[in-house]
Amino acid sequence: MAAVNGTPSSGDWPNRYFHVDQILDKPGPRTDPAFSAGPVVKDFLRNQCKILVIGAGGLGCEILANLALTGFKDIHVIDMDTIDISNLNRQFLFRPRDVGKPKANVAAEFVMKRVPGVKVTPYFGKIQDKGEDYYMQFQLVICGLDSVEARRWINATLFQMVDDDNPESTKPLIDGGTEGFRGQARVIIPNMTSCYECSLDMLNKPTAFPICTIANTPRLPEHCIEWASVLEWPRVHGDKKMDTDDPEHIGWLYEVALNRAKNFKIEGVTWSLTQGVVKNIIPAIASTNAIIAASCCNEAFKFATSSAAFLNNYFMMIGTDGVYSYTFEHQRRDDCPVCGGEELAVEIGKEWTVERLIEMLVERQNIQIKKPSLSSANGTKHIYFQAPPQLEAATRPNLEKKVFDLVGDAGDILVTSHSLPFSLNLRVSYV
């Protein structure tokens, strides 16, 4: 049953691909003329194409099943998480007995058992554990992630792999995301379309409560919960790390928050709200994941087979009030630090300290760099570095200094961050 050149490959039976082959045997009105219907495209899809799925959660489970059924036979999957009971309302490859096991492994095993002849290779770990040589082996990458940071990392990594002399080095990235009844799927082709970094400002701003509200004037149950987790936990438990998956920890936070709420006559602190606030829980349901994962896999299928034009480049949908969707071409940003090439111009006050500039870099929608390190003169002059500790200590006094005094009028600043594999060139002007 080993896969030999051509078809059929292992596990296949006559008419197995009756449905998909209707598409692969002939072109449609919107099919690119380069489409080679029949054995050639089937051979590529089933015997040659290697695809990577990042995330084996809500979207990942759906993506793996869809890819396997459409005929992708060599699928890899990365996920760093283990299975939790709250995953079972949508992550359909997992059962109660699987709670605690690595998602990637359980998902891979399930798909291989259910869809004969498909090879799914799991990796239980972080995407950052892998390097360019690993990512280079795939023709396509599909992301079903819930982390902005991880998406930025893979986006930038795939962009850096592009070698103009090697067309194979351009890896399309198909990215899906959901939140409740909303979701989006998009196709990112390095240097052709906008990239993930270009669209940072489209993200919803996370709710942040001012520390003085939490400490002094709580009004909402959320304020009491934040007080318990941000102020009381470290005060009472010192260096002991809070584990938001530990019911005892949540229980403690809940009681502390409830007590504070009682003192202030605030209603509405519940266990569920406590957990929601401290874990920043986003509602998630099977149906939205199914729609978005199907969109991602459909684009992967069209891309891998050229059987129809693929999405250019963004599909978003909202299912709360009827079925609303919007398909559009998201535009590249010339000052995108990953694909734009131009410096990002920022205006700051002449009296701004380095510390204030850093706050802005963390908060601004189109930048959002956590723990940025700053240097000037093409990176040769340190302004402030987050690590290593000696360098941090040495540059710490600069936090209080004015940016203007350090970089002057022609203010070019290089911003880097441990969590992001790229740097940002800031052109600072003063108002």
Binding site: F18, V20, V115, R219, T270, A286, S287, A290, C297, N298
Partner: protein, 534 residues
């Protein structure tokens, strides 16, 4: 729910009796309970769903209903699994399933997803049941049908339309990359539509306790800290009252007056950084936006369900009637909502304001309840609470019978002009169904499809005012795709529809959020969805 979960729930309760830690069922459903809450979940768990056919699309839909915990599902399918089925359906086990009942295999594998859900396979023939035992079909709470032969589908739709108490029907038609769904229902009232816009705070029509509070506050002699903590609601009520006193009782009307009012708010600051006054200026529009009964709600008052109300009418219409009577009295608004948004303030001032709103909301609810009582319309208290709380987002959808659009050539023409690609795709799918009904074994050509489409719309495509033919290229694109893959139930299309239909089914069952009206068309080449609605 099953016994095993009850035992687990019981032990969890003993272990952590000190705190309100959720039971295992709540933990399992946590991520969805945040969307539709316990009330929605309980509706879902009482629902009984019939799905006609065990196709890849049908099992995809069911997967997304079994996972969140629908009460019961039945797959009605007389077919045995073919090698073709085994290749595109995740809820069949490859060649092992071939030759077995498709309904039984799919039910077995879907049931693995959730112990709390009851699944049943029915291997009878749908046409036979329609003939001999239609009450079997109408005993479900929702019926879903994928790619049924059009004669069977028409009979099914006619049966379910024949009585307003019969279950809604979701029709799915798909071929290759193209598909559409349609929900057939008579009327669908929604109390909790989860509207994006919050209810009015009634700053322009302050209730007595609020007005009194705002006027009594000794703002002038307040210390700086308290001054910076007056909630913007109070600032606005006070400022409006003062404005009206010097403007013959009128609120700011012209652009100049509004600017002046806003400037006046900011001038009240004692310190430049008083955010509460900035908030007041930003929210000042509430002062001159009159709180009335929203248009969409007052339209409901003239719905036949209200105008020809009888004692046996559904509770929703009795509630609407009472709402109409309530809002016909001053101050001509909906009952007050007790929900206060967060605003810059200290705890005491905010909590005090919150109490005023809650107390008033409670009073108005009593007035509402007394109207209901006087009308002789007893409604469950929990429903009244829910209704009053969500009064600003009430919806009443009235649906159409499946096939009514295709029976109306003028409507089709109008739709083709307004939503060209959506309507062209719908027409092509209707044409395909007609051809397949006439001759199931023949592969339709593009010519066949084109002819069938033209027959549907009455001979020729409509023209624009400048004489151009509308929809020709869109139609050719849809027809071409259907001729390419007339019987393809593609895994990705099936998965997409599985999500879409389950989402609409959940909205219908929970009566939360708003289901789609009209024909919802999906094109997975262009990666778009759209709606055709006359």
């Amino acid at each position: 729910m099953s016994d095993s979960q009850d035992i687990e729930t019981a032990t969890t309760a003993i272990q952590t009796s000190q705190v309100a830690q959720p039971d295992s069922k709540t933990r399992r459903y946590d991520r969805q309970l945040r969307l539709w809450a316990a009330t929605g979940q309980s509706s879902l768990e009482s629902a009984r769903i019939l799905v006609c056919s065990g196709s890849a699309t049908s099992t995809s839909v069911l997967k997304n209903l079994v996972l969140p915990g629908v009460g019961h599902f039945t797959i009605l399918d007389a077919h045995v699994v073919t090698p073709e089925d085994a290749g595109n359906n995740f809820f069949l086990e490859g060649l092992d399933s071939v030759g077995k009942s498709r309904a039984e295999e799919a039910v077995r594998l879907l049931s693995e997803l959730n112990d709390g859900v009851e699944g049943q396979a029915n291997t009878a023939n749908l046409d036979d049941i329609l003939e001999k035992d239609p009450s079997y079909i109408t005993s479900f709470s929702l019926v879903i049908a994928h790619n049924l032969p059009s004669s069977t589908l028409d009979r099914l739709a006619t049966l379910l339309w024949s009585n307003t108490s019969f279950p809604p029907l979701i029709v799915i038609r798909s071929a290759g990359f193209l598909a559409e769904i349609f929900i057939q229902f008579h009327e669908h009232p929604i109390i909790d539509s989860h509207p994006e816009t919050p209810a009015s705070l009634r700053i322009d029509k302050p209730f007595p306790a609020l007005l009194d509070h705002a006027l009594k506050l000794d703002i002038e002699n307040m210390d700086v800290i308290d001054h910076g903590n007056i909630p913007y609601v109070v600032i606005l009520v006070r400022a409006l009252e003062e404005w009206k006193a010097s403007h013959n009782g009128s609120p700011p009307k012209t652009y100049e007056e509004k600017s002046e009012f806003k400037k006046g708010l900011l001038a009240r600051k004692k310190k430049a950084d008083e955010e509460n006054f900035d908030e007041a200026a930003a929210q000042a529009y509430r002062v001159w936006t009159e709180t009335t009964v929203p248009n969409e709600i007052s339209k409901l008052f003239s719905d036949p369900g209200v105008t020809s109300l009888t004692p046996s009418s559904p509770a929703f219409f009795h509630l609407l009637k009472a709402l109409q009577q309530f809002s016909s009295q001053p101050p001509h608004t909906l009952p007050l909502s007790s929900t206060l948004p967060d605003m810059k303030s200290d705890t005491a001032s905010y909590v005090h304001l919150q109490k005023l709103y809650k107390a008033r909301a409670e009073e108005e609810k009593l007035v509402f309840k007394s109207i209901l009582k006087k009308n002789g319309a007893p409604v469950d208290d929990a429903i009244v609470d829910e209704f009053v709380k969500n009064a600003h987002g009430l919806k009443l959808l009235r649906g159409e019978k499946w096939g009514s659009l295709d029976a109306d050539k003028n409507a089709l023409s109008a739709c083709l002009k307004g939503n060209t690609k959506e309507t062209a795709t719908h027409l092509a799918l209707s044409a395909l169904a007609r051809i397949q009904a006439a001759n199931p074994s023949v592969q339709p050509t593009e010519d066949d499809l084109r002819t069938a489409v033209l027959a549907l719309i009455g001979g020729e495509l409509p023209r624009s005012s400048s004489g151009e033919v509308i929809g020709e290229s869109e139609l050719e694109e849809a027809i071409g795709e259907l001729a390419r893959a007339p019987t393809a139930d593609l895994p990705n299309t099936a998965a997409f529809l599985g999500g879409l239909v389950a989402q609409e089914a959940i909205k219908m069952i929970t009566r939360q959020y708003v289901p789609v009206k009209g024909v919802c068309v999906v094109d997975l080449i262009g990666s778009w969805t759209g709606v055709v609605q006359p």
